[in-house]
Assembly symmetry: C2
Homo-oligomer: 172 residues x 2
C-alpha cells in the first residue's frame, strides 16, 4: 500500500484588485510573488519533494503558482485545473475525487499530491483532514505550505497527520 | 499588550541507551545531533527569531540542545531548567507558570518563549494549546520546531494559533 502525502500550497503574492484587474480571478502574481514562489519550489525540490500530481485552482494567481512549480527542476509532473479549488471551494466534492484517486494508486511507495489554492479554504481543509472540524487555528502564508500524511481509510477526515506548516521565509 | 509566541523545540538526536548510558536522563547528543541542532539554531537566528527566555527539560540531551541555542549568535537569552519539561511533564503546572510569566511582561511588542523538551509531550502540549484536546496528530521530529501564537486570555488552552511545524531538514 502506498504512503499518501498531501501538500496544500497557497498561491504567491498577487497584484491588488484595481483598475488593471477589476476581476479577482484575473489578478496575476507580482514580480516578488513569482520570485518567492520560485525559491520555495526550488527549495522543496532540492529537499527531494516530488509530486505525482498537482491540482490547481482555476484563478490566474494559483495557475501561475502551479506553473512555477511544474517548471522547477524536479517537479516534472502532471498539472490539472480543479474547480473545487477555486475560492469557497467544494471540500466534499474534492474528497470524493481524492478517494477515487487514492484507490487508483495501486503501487506501494510514496505518493504525493499538491493542491494550489486559496485561503481560508486550504487551512480549513487541512483542519478537516486532521481534526475533523474547523476552528481556524492554522496560519498559511502566501506561498506557504501545509503537509499532511493521509491514511487510506474510508475517509481521511479527522485521521490525517500534520507534519508541516511552513511560511515561505523559512524556505528562502 | 505584547504579542506572545511560543516555540516548542524537541531535543536533537541523542546516544542510544546502553552500557555507556544506562540511565535515560544521561544520554547526550550525538555528534550528528549537535551538528543538526546547531544548524537549526543558526538558521532560526538568521531569520530573526529571538527568545526572551528558554526553558529546558533537566535531561542531558535537552540541556545540551538548549545550550547550543544560547551559544548561537542571536540567542543571548536567559536559560532556565524546568522540571515540568521532563518526560511525562506537568502541563497544568507549566500552564500556571506561563500565565504568571505572561502577566509579568508588561511591555508591548513581541515576546518569545522557547521550550526544549521531549516527545510526545511537546506535540501534545501544542495540541492542548491550539485545539484544547489531544489526538496525537502533529509530528515533531528531533530538533524540529512547533511555533504558536498565544493570546492573553484567562487560559491559552484551545485558543492558540499554529503557524509553524517544521522538521530540521527544512532548516539545514
Amino acid at each position: 500500500m502506498a504512503n499518501f502525502s498531501l501538500y496544500l500550497i497557497r498561491h504567491g503574492i498577487a497584484a491588488e484588485r484595481g483598475e488593471a484587474y477589476p476581476n479577482d480571478c484575473d489578478r496575476p502574481l507580482t514580480e516578488e510573488g513569482r520570485r518567492k514562489t520560485r525559491q520555495v519550489a526550488k527549495r522543496l525540490a532540492t529537499l527531494g519533494l516530488r509530486f505525482d500530481l498537482l491540482l490547481t485552482s482555476p484563478l490566474v494567481r494559483a495557475r501561475q503558482t502551479a506553473e512555477i512549480f511544474t517548471e522547477t527542476v524536479g517537479y516534472d509532473c502532471p498539472l490539472e485545473v480543479s474547480q473545487e479549488l477555486a475560492p469557497e471551494g467544494d471540500f466534499d466534492a474534492w474528497l470524493n475525487w481524492w478517494k477515487a484517486w487514492q484507490q487508483s494508486k495501486t503501487t506501494s511507495g510514496d505518493v504525493a499530491l499538491g493542491l494550489i489554492g486559496h485561503e481560508p479554504d486550504l487551512s480549513t481543509w487541512a483542519e478537516m483532514l486532521v481534526w475533523g472540524d474547523v476552528r481556524s487555528v492554522i496560519v498559511l502564508k502566501k506561498a506557504g505550505v501545509i503537509g499532511l500524511a493521509v491514511p487510506e481509510p474510508t475517509s481521511p477526515v479527522g485521521s490525517s497527520i500534520l507534519f508541516l506548516v511552513i511560511p515561505p521565509k523559512l524556505l528562502i
